[in-house]
């Protein structure tokens, strides 16, 4: 499989993963807002921690994309 088609498949998968985590984060924010307004403050910290974990996953995926591009660029220069 060529690098280009590998990259296309990888980036499509990464895009789907990132999209899914963003939807989960949106749901967490909705739950947090509802809990805050109803005074149920116990759920707020776990929801924020979960959202931060998802952000970390997204950041790792983005870093992977940049590193992939960087490696491909370096290989083409060699």
């Amino acid at each position: 499989m060529s690098v280009r088609s590998q990259g296309t498949t990888l980036f499509s998968a990464i895009l789907i993963l990132v999209g899914t985590t963003v939807v989960v984060q949106l749901w967490l924010l909705t739950v947090s807002t509802e809990a805050l307004l109803s005074g149920q403050t116990k759920t707020l910290i776990p929801a924020a921690a979960g959202s931060s974990l998802l952000l970390l996953i997204n950041a790792c995926l983005l870093r992977y994309v940049y590193r992939f591009d960087h490696d491909v660029e370096r290989e083409s220069q060699e």
């Binding site: 895009l15 403050t41 931060s52 997204n58």
Partner: protein
């Protein structure tokens, strides 16, 4: 038939933000998957930030509910069976009840369904919402009948002689 795409002469010279929102059709370009991943990660960071703001706001609101407040005389509660008071602020109605077993309990009077005021029913030994027939257990404030799904927030009460004090609001 082939369609030739014209080049926009002024678009490349424009600053980055103008390139993202071009006026001319020729200046428009497709967003790559890399750009979309970058943009969505930025959105993810904003969502995580908003979640932490909600968490901090929640802890600040909760911290303000620990102030002690005099709510009335215990003798008045014995006469009527229930006592209405405001805690932690003047905008938060609450109800204290002496159960048939002699236990002193207090809850927020705001129904968790649609915020009507709940009242104590001696016949049912429960807190009842007259609006939609919601019923809350007197021992824990949990909903036992009707539309409410969440329990009533509990207020901790301390009795010192004949005086009653609200000390904490538990969510």
């Amino acid at each position: 038939m082939t369609v030739e795409k014209k080049k926009c002469a002024t678009c490349a010279k424009a600053p980055k933000w103008k390139q993202d929102f071009p006026i001319e059709w020729e200046g428009d370009h497709y967003v790559t998957r890399r750009e979309l991943v970058k943009f969505m990660t930025l959105g993810s960071a904003l969502l995580a930030g908003a979640n932490w703001i909600a968490a901090v706001a929640g802890s600040l609101i909760h911290r303000g509910s620990h102030a002690e407040r005099y709510i009335g005389a215990a003798s008045a509660l014995e006469r009527t069976g229930s006592l209405l008071f405001r805690y932690p602020t003047d905008q938060d109605p609450c109800i204290a009840v002496r159960t048939p077993e002699g236990k002193l309990v207090a809850y927020s009077q705001v129904c968790t369904h649609l915020s009507c005021a709940v009242v104590y029913s001696k016949a049912e030994n429960a807190l009842v919402c007259p609006c939609h027939k919601g019923v809350f257990n007197i021992d824990g404030g949990s909903p036992v009948a009707g539309p409410p799904m969440r329990p009533l927030p509990r207020v901790k009460i301390e009795q010192r002689g004949d005086q009653l004090f609200a000390t904490e609001l538990e969510n």
